[in-house]
């Protein structure tokens, strides 16, 4: 099958790649572009481990064809921390012990970024429903929710 040339931006950097039409964004990110911070847990959009932002919108990279990223801005977990250091969401996940094995963590952090960009002061229910597309099997979600609440408070103070 002949490959398609795609031009996109990943975490601000211009990126070009070749992919087959049926290849998913998660496959290209991980296998072609070596951005393995985005994890793959199911390939069916059920677990959220591959959460990335496509033009600021939260998507499962396993449900997006790589060709759909043409001309888009893709934000992955590798693009959350800045040159100044960790993002407050990342700091709060660490402080609250909101990860155990850590495989779901990149997805949760990207999803939390999308949540707080849209709802800077979410209540617990909003957080729980926004993050319902991200599966965590280790924590029981308690510490994740608390980390997100704390991150929201911190970001609100910074703003």
């Amino acid at each position: 099958m002949s490959k398609v040339h795609v031009t996109t931006r990943v975490n601000g950097d211009p990126v070009e790649f070749l992919c087959t039409p049926e290849q998913t964004l998660v496959d290209v990110l991980r296998d072609t572009l070596d951005r393995t911070g985005t994890k793959e847990g199911c390939s069916t959009g059920d677990c959220g481990a591959c959460s990335v932002l496509l033009n600021g919108r939260l998507v499962c990279a396993c449900l997006v064809l790589a060709v759909e990223s043409e001309g888009a801005e893709v934000t992955t977990i590798e693009g959350i921390a800045t040159e100044e250091g960790l993002h407050p969401i990342q700091e709060k996940f660490l402080e609250h012990a909101a990860l155990q094995c850590g495989i779901c963590t990149p997805g949760f952090i990207v999803a939390t970024k999308a949540l707080l960009d849209k709802h800077p002061e979410p209540d617990e229910e909003t957080i729980r429903y926004w993050l319902a597309g991200n599966l965590c099997r280790c924590t029981g979600y308690d510490k994740i929710i608390r980390a997100v609440q704390d991150a929201a408070t911190t970001l609100a103070h910074e703003a």
Partner: protein
């Protein structure tokens, strides 16, 4: 035992050493390694639950451009029978046949061939080109069918073990066991009230978010390097060596970060296949299971049937109890019915009881360990029966348990007397808990249940290196599945008296670290921690010796305090304390580098008890059950990093609630799993759950220097019966079988 108040590092909640890499996407998990010139390996899986392989033709696949290796069962050496190293392994020959079928396929999804090709698409096309001729056999799909006298046999060479007389004909019952004490008939005669019930739980999956993945590369001299996500790279190395008839020295196993395991990543699936493919292809081979493959063909928890009968006097004293426990092993023997049988009555001091257990073959995937393997199934039944008993006796369910609870010196149902344990403390804490004092919300029910797990010790090794600036490097070999690097660093900080921030922890590969058994059995903080503590004590002894040499005094005239060598009382008071950094400055002159080490088989893990309760609401129109609140109380002995102890309790609670409320393997009549994905095998999501309140009880384990007990497994045990008992309370009727899914609960409401 040091007094709790003396601890400086232990009991604090620092950021874990591997944390930053895990929140930034840097941490490398099983599927994250790509090597130059790498091939993709894929597995051909059986479309039948039970069939004889008449013929398998690999030629067309081999001939395809881009295909570099094709293997089937015939390519694997015949593994000899024998116990496999580590836990969760079982019989070597069985694990070998589970990795790659030989003459028969025994479950839908059973591997029977594999290919390695330059792309995933070519690998898939090559699988499609493999021709297999099957003689389809009748699958054995449930306990009744399997245990029937004229049952179709899953394995024609399976003779029931542990019978009083050797079995004469083959059977699907792989083994039986009994545990008994006293006289149950007399015991039941003394009872004022007797309750009984039959409880069924379908197979369920650990549901780790990271699928199994590995990359293997074998060079021309036959030396293999295997990168894999596992709970125990040493155990997987042993298993792979046994299955492939290789020397352990030719297998280097590197544990990647691991994305959850819960017992399911203690046994090989892909690794021997990847090594075999790489041996043929002479190129690296990467294999990653799809989620569907994980569900169909890794090792779920055993499905079970438990029949329980309990008799008690009016005051709540249990006079007799019996349990009949049958567990589905899947296609090969090894269901955890033994631990299930040993746990079922473990929390209670019983004079008369009898437990019978059955390990039963069915044409379903071979089960693997899942968090306190065997205990949730049997204890769900007992804890449900106790709830019924409390109702009959009009007693508070915690009071009923207190009346019968084991304590230090009680003879455990599984044999020995208990050393110091914290069960009564957990029960009393539950009774006094503000959440228990609150009234049950309108429309909800409250459930209470206890949990128990033995915990494990086993082999661990650790080295501690002191760097030239006095900082500390720990090397151990227990994959960090939930923050164990942090607990190792905290125990080292406490022992050495140096700040946590100056300590680094490496989970070494099989060439870099001494042998460590799997991260499982709730053993890592206990056993590997004990090795780290002893290695630190070794460092202290050497540092005192170096200080003595520096000062020109005897080693026994030096003491260690707050991370420095100080002169003992009465010794030249002019001597200034020497810190680790100062000792290292002159180390070259006083004897060279300083390296401490310990290797041990940790004794006395100390049993873990819990008491959980929760309020659950039932929608009487749909049968949907919502968890309104949940409180987990557990004896941790001593919590090294309390946040991660709470995390184990919260995670186990939600996993147990998922098992109770929703999760089940649903097979069709041909033995095909109908819900092999997270959409239909629905594990709890954030919006399903409330906050999980925790209370850590600390009754120190006398066998550990800091009093540690394992905490990883006990948390999953109690939630099953908590949910069942709360639903019973809410709808006025017991639903015996799990899951308490809307159709099952609705059926019970409508029957009532």
């Amino acid at each position: 035992m040091a007094e709790a108040t003396e601890f400086k590092a232990i009991g604090t909640r620092p950021v874990r050493p591997d944390g930053v890499d895990k929140v930034t996407g840097r941490a490398q998990f099983g599927a994250d390694l790509n090597l130059p010139n790498m091939l993709y390996g894929k597995v051909l899986r059986s479309p039948h639950a039970h069939a004889r392989i008449r013929r398998i033709d690999l030629d067309a696949a081999r001939a395809m451009p881009g295909v570099h290796a094709v293997v089937s069962g015939a390519d694997f050496p015949g593994a000899q029978h024998g116990e496999i190293g580590g836990e969760g392994g079982g019989d070597v020959a069985d694990v070998a046949k589970n990795v790659m079928a030989r003459d028969k396929v025994l479950y839908h999804g059973h591997p029977l061939a594999a290919v390695a090709a330059t792309s995933q698409a070519i690998a898939e096309a090559a699988l499609a080109a493999i021709e297999v001729e099957y003689e389809v056999l009748t699958p054995v799909l449930d306990l009744e069918a399997a245990m029937a006298p004229d049952a179709v046999l899953v394995n024609e060479n399976c003779f029931t073990k542990n019978l009083p007389e050797p079995a004469e004909k083959p059977s699907n019952i792989a083994s039986v066991m009994t545990l008994a004490r006293g006289n149950v008939d007399e015991g039941f005669e003394l009872a004022d009230v007797i309750v009984e019930g039959e409880y069924r739980i379908p197979m369920a999956h650990q549901g780790y978010i990271e699928p199994h993945a590995c990359t293997a590369t074998v060079n021309e001299s036959g030396q293999a390097t295997v990168w894999t996500c596992t709970q125990g790279h040493f155990a997987l190395r042993t298993q792979t060596a046994n299955i492939l008839d290789m020397s352990v020295a030719d297998l280097k196993f590197i544990a990647s970060e691991i994305g959850g395991g819960f017992g399911g990543k203690t046994v090989v699936y892909l690794e021997p296949v990847a090594v075999m493919l790489s041996t043929q292809a002479r190129r690296p081979v990467k294999m990653v299971m799809s989620r569907e493959e994980v569900f169909r063909a890794s090792g779920p928890a055993a499905g079970s049937c438990a029949k329980i009968r309990v008799g008690a006097k009016k005051d709540g004293t249990i006079t007799a109890a019996t349990a009949w426990l049958a567990y589905e092993a899947g296609a090969f023997e090894g269901a955890p019915m033994g631990p299930g049988a040993m746990c079922v009555f473990a929390p209670y001091d019983l004079e008369n009881f009898r437990v019978e257990g059955f390990d039963v073959l069915v044409n379903k995937p071979k089960v693997a360990a899942y968090r306190a393997p065997g205990a949730p199934q049997s204890m769900h039944a007992m804890e449900s029966a106790l709830d019924d008993l409390a109702r009959e006796l009009n007693m508070d369910p915690i009071d009923l348990r207190l009346k019968n609870a084991v304590a230090e010196g009680s003879q455990a149902a599984y044999g020995p007397k208990f050393p110091a344990i914290g069960f009564r403390e957990c029960l009393e804490a539950a009774k006094a808990h503000p959440n228990y004092q609150k009234p049950v919300p309108e429309g909800a029910g409250r459930g209470v249940a206890a949990g128990f797990w033995f915990n494990a010790g086993m082999e661990s090794s650790a080295e501690v290196h002191i760097n030239e600036d006095g900082t500390v490097q720990i090397i151990e070999g227990s994959p960090d599945i939930g923050g164990s690097r942090a607990s190792m660093a905290l125990m080292a900080a406490e022992t050495l008296g140096v700040p946590y921030e100056k300590i680094r922890v490496l989970v070494g590969d099989t060439e870099a670290s001494g042998f460590n058994n799997v991260t499982g059995g709730s053993r890592t903080t206990f056993a590997t921690g004990m090795a780290v503590i002893q290695a630190c004590e070794d460092i202290i002894a050497q540092c005192k010796d170096r200080a003595a040499k520096t000062w020109g005094v005897d080693a026994d005239q030096v003491e260690w305090e707050d991370g420095q060598a100080i002169p003992a009382p009465g010794v030249n008071a002019e001597l200034k304390p020497l810190t680790l950094a100062e000792i290292m400055k002159t180390a070259a002159r006083t004897g060279g580098p300083i390296l401490g080490r310990a290797a041990l088989n940790a004794r006395g893990p100390g049993a873990g008890f819990s008491v959980n309760f929760g309020d659950l609401k039932v929608d009487r129109e749909t049968g949907k059950v919502d968890v309104l609140s949940f409180t987990a109380i557990q004896d941790a002995g001593k919590a090294i990093h309390p946040a991660y102890v709470e995390g184990q309790m919260q995670g186990g609670a939600v996993q147990g609630l998922g098992w109770a409320l929703n999760e089940e393997y649903i097979f069709d009549g041909n033995g095909v799993l109908e819900n092999p994905g997270f959409l239909d095998y629905r594990i709890p999501v954030a919006s399903d759950m409330p906050m999980i309140d925790t209370q850590i009880i600390e009754v120190p384990n006398p066998s550990h220097p800091f009093g540690v007990r394992g905490v990883g497994e006990t948390p999953i045990v109690a939630p099953l019966a908590v949910a069942a008992n709360a639903v019973r309370d809410a709808i006025g009727r017991r639903v015996h079988d799990l899951p308490l899914s809307p159709p099952n609960v609705l059926a019970a409401i409508e029957e009532g």
